[in-house]
């Protein structure tokens, strides 16, 4: 039961959230990362995600396992898109269910922060005017 997944197809957030349900879960926190039309003052038209798939899979699972160990969770899952995305597309989804909301909020935040820092996925933004560029974890351009 792989809880971290890379997907080249649109993410179905509602189905993913439902799968976290359990009679003992009182709280569910989700994070959705959407493609914005602007970054660092430049107009973004679309973007591509590239991934080192097997290592991204391993590292993503490791992050979810860390979250389960650190926080009192019922369940958690994460899906990250790869390939070409348009403005408004859902790029990454994180969901956490727990008995109580403290753990659910903290774990959801932990997972998205770690995914952005550690999982080998790269974002290439395409700007108005035809330029494009790879980004750092803080969304500043590479070089």
């Amino acid at each position: 039961m792989s809880r971290f997944r890379l997907s080249d197809q649109p993410i179905d957030a509602a189905t993913l959230a439902r799968a976290l349900a359990d009679a003992s879960a009182g709280a569910c926190v989700t994070f959705e990362g959407w493609v914005r039309n602007e970054n660092a003052g430049r107009l973004v038209q679309r973007l591509d995600y590239q991934a080192y798939v097997p290592l991204a899979q391993t590292e993503g699972e490791r992050i979810l396992a860390e979250a389960r160990q650190r926080f009192a969770l019922v369940d958690t899952a994460c899906v990250h898109r790869i390939g070409a995305l348009a403005i408004g597309d859902l790029a990454v989804w994180v969901g956490v269910s727990a008995a109580h909301r403290d753990a659910a909020f903290a774990a959801c935040r932990y997972i998205i922060d770690e995914v952005k820092q550690r999982v080998p996925i790269w974002k290439n933004e395409h700007y108005a005017g035809g330029e494009s560029g790879w980004l750092h974890p803080d969304n500043t351009p590479v070089k």
């Binding site: 290592l55 990250h80 952005k116 080998p120 996925i121 790879w134 750092h136 590479v142």
Partner: protein
Amino acid sequence: MRYNILYFASLRDGAGRDSEEVESVHADASQLYDELRQRHGFTARQQTLRLAVNGAFASWDHELADGDEVAFLPPVSGG
């Protein structure tokens, strides 16, 4: 030694390919990167990259073996 090198993001653009088979005398990953950097004109300094060997992160003092799959990973930007 023979390595299968994987390229991502800016290094993929610089090398103009996803991967390549490379013959090298270097078992040291830093020296291997320097060799490839000169060959392809990469601008990324080694200190900004993470090393992965055979699908797992590795430290830069990891000694490479013949047949290894080696990836030099630019700073990631998922999410």
